[in-house]
C-alpha cells in the first residue's frame, strides 16, 4: 500500500487513476465509515452511505480545492452529507437524541489537541466565546447531522428561536475564527 497523503491521492483520483482511488479508499474508509455511523446508527444504512460517498469522491475529485479545505475535511463533508441524505429519506424514525448526546464532549480530545493544535483549539476557543447553549447546540447539530427541526425538538424550543440562536452563533463563530 502506498503511504501517499490523501491530498495527493485525491489529485491523482481526479486524473482518473484507479490505483490512487484504491489507495485513497484503504487510507480513509475506516474514518469515513465511522463518520457515517455518527449520523446513521444502522450499519446497513452506514454501508450504503459509504458506497455513495466514494462514488461521489470519484465523480467530484476534480472539484477539490486544496487551498480551501484539507483533504480529510472535504472527504468527511461528503460522507456526512451522504449519511444525512439517507437519514432524511427515512421517514418516521425519530432521531436517537440520547445517542447524539453521548457524542458530545467538553473540549478537544487529547489526541486532537496534540496533533491538530491550530484549527481544533481555535474552534474550541471560539466556541468558548459563545453562550454555553449556542455552542452546545451547534456541536450537537454537527455531530448528529441534525436538521433545524430535529434540533428544536431536542432542545424543546420553538423552531424560530433555535434558528436565530444558531445563526447568531455562526456569525460570532465566523468573526472569531477569521480574526487573526
Amino acid at each position: 500500500m502506498t503511504s501517499a497523503h490523501p491530498r495527493e491521492l485525491l489529485q491523482r483520483v481526479a486524473d482518473g487513476e484507479r490505483a490512487a482511488f484504491s489507495a485513497l479508499y484503504d487510507a480513509t474508509s475506516g474514518k469515513l465509515f465511522a463518520v457515517c455511523l455518527t449520523v446513521l446508527t444502522s450499519p446497513a444504512e452506514a454501508e450504503e452511505a459509504l458506497q455513495e460517498t466514494y462514488l461521489k469522491v470519484w465523480r467530484r475529485a476534480g472539484s477539490y480545492d486544496a487551498d480551501r479545505a484539507s483533504a480529510m475535511s472535504w472527504l468527511i463533508a461528503i460522507a456526512r452529507n451522504a449519511a444525512i441524505d439517507i437519514a432524511r429519506k427515512r421517514k418516521g424514525v425519530p432521531v436517537d437524541l440520547d445517542a447524539v448526546a453521548e457524542l458530545e464532549d467538553d473540549g478537544p480530545s487529547p489526541e486532537t489537541a496534540a496533533h491538530a493544535a491550530g484549527e481544533a483549539l481555535r474552534l474550541h476557543d471560539c466556541l468558548g466565546e459563545l453562550e454555553g447553549e449556542q455552542a452546545r447546540i451547534i456541536k450537537r447539530a454537527y455531530m448528529g447531522g441534525l436538521s433545524y427541526s430535529q434540533v428544536a425538538e431536542a432542545a424543546g424550543k420553538p423552531l424560530g428561536t433555535v434558528k436565530s440562536l444558531i445563526r447568531r452563533g455562526l456569525q460570532k463563530l465566523r468573526a472569531c475564527l477569521e480574526a487573526a
Binding site: R18, F21, S22, Y25, D26, S29, G30, K31, F33, A34, V35, T38, V39, T41, S42, P43, A44, E47, E48, L50, Q51, Y54, L55, S63, D65, R68, A69, S70, M72, S73, W74, I76, A77, R80, N81, R88, P108, S109, E111, T112, A116, E119, A120, L123, K139, A141, M143, G145, L146, S147, Y148, S149, V151, I166, R167, L170, Q171, L173, R174, L177
Partner: protein, 255 residues
C-alpha cells in the same frame, strides 16, 4: 462583510452543519456545485467543523463494500440484480445471503460490537449462530448423497458458472468461464448466511474443474449459503477476505 456575503456565509454554515431540510437543503447542495463563492464558504465551515471528528475512532468497513464500489465505478462485473428488479440493495442482501431474520441478527451483533469489549464478541457471535442454525443441524448427518447446486450469476459478458456440490465426495465441480483475460487469479468463496466469505482457494478461470471442500467448511454447505468468485492478485487474496471485484455469485440450492 456585506449583508449579501453575510447571508451567503450563514447559508453555507447552515448547510455544512446539516441543518437545512428538504428543498432548502437540495438548493444549497446544487449551489455548492455551481457557485464557487458559495462552495468556498461551505468548505470554510466544513474545514473548521471537521476537527470535531478528528478523534473519532476508525471503524473498518466490510470488505465487500470496496469491491462493490469499484465494480460500480470501473464497470467491472457486478453481482446480478434479482429478476424482480428490486434493485441494488436487494442484490446486496442476496450477496450477503441475509434473510430478514439474519439481517436483524447481524445488525444486533454489530450494535453490540460497538458497545462491548472485544472478549464479549465471541459469545455474541455464538448466540447469533444458535439463533440462525436450523435445529436439524443437531440431528445425524443428512441423508447421504445430498447434492447442492449454485448457479453463480454473471457479470456482464461472461457466461454464468455452474457449481455442483456433492456431499458424498465433499467436492465442488465447476463449469463455465469467469474472469477470462483479467489480470491476477480468480478465487472461490463460500459465504455462510449472514457471515463473511471464507476462501475455498484459487480456481482456474474456465474448463471443468473441481475443488475439495476442507472438512471444517463442510457444515457451511447448506441452503442459505452462497458461493462467489472474486478477482484477486496472483496467488489469491492476501488478506483472507475478498479484495477484488466479485465476478460471479449465487446462492446454494438443493439440486
Amino acid at each position: 462583510m456585506s449583508d449579501e456575503s453575510d447571508h451567503i456565509d450563514l447559508l453555507a454554515g447552515e448547510y455544512a452543519l446539516g441543518l437545512l431540510e428538504g428543498e432548502e437543503r437540495a438548493d444549497a447542495a446544487r449551489r455548492a456545485d455551481a457557485d464557487p463563492a458559495f462552495a468556498a464558504r461551505v468548505d470554510f465551515w466544513n474545514d473548521r467543523f471537521a476537527v470535531w471528528l478528528d478523534g473519532l475512532q476508525e471503524r473498518p468497513a466490510p470488505a465487500w463494500i470496496k469491491a462493490r464500489i469499484e465494480a460500480e465505478i470501473f464497470g467491472a462485473p457486478t453481482p446480478a440484480r434479482p429478476a424482480s428488479g428490486a434493485g441494488f440493495w436487494s442484490s446486496l442482501a442476496v450477496w450477503r445471503g441475509l434473510t430478514a431474520a439474519g439481517f436483524a441478527a447481524a445488525a444486533f451483533a454489530f450494535a453490540v460490537l460497538l458497545l462491548r469489549p472485544p472478549e464479549i464478541v465471541e459469545r455474541i457471535e455464538v448466540v447469533e449462530v444458535e439463533v440462525e442454525v436450523p435445529v436439524e443441524v443437531e440431528a445425524p448427518a443428512p441423508p447421504p448423497g445430498v447434492v447442492l447446486v449454485a448457479a453463480l450469476q454473471p457479470v456482464e459478458v461472461d457466461p454464468a458458472v455452474l457449481a455442483v456440490y456433492d456431499e458424498t465426495e465433499g467436492l465442488i465441480s465447476l463449469s463455465g468461464a469467469v474472469g477470462v483475460g483479467e489480470p491476477g487469479d480468480t478465487e472461490l468463496w463460500i459465504i455462510p448466511e449472514g457471515r463473511d466469505p471464507v476462501s475455498l482457494g484459487v480456481i482456474a478461470r474456465d474448463g471443468a474443474r473441481s475443488v475439495t471442500v476442507p472438512e471444517q467448511l463442510i457444515a457451511e454447505f447448506q441452503a442459505g449459503s452462497a458461493l462467489a468468485i472474486s478477482l484477486e492478485p496472483e496467488g489469491g487474496s492476501p488478506t483472507g477476505a475478498p479484495t477484488g471485484p466479485i465476478l460471479a455469485l449465487g446462492p446454494l440450492n438443493p439440486a
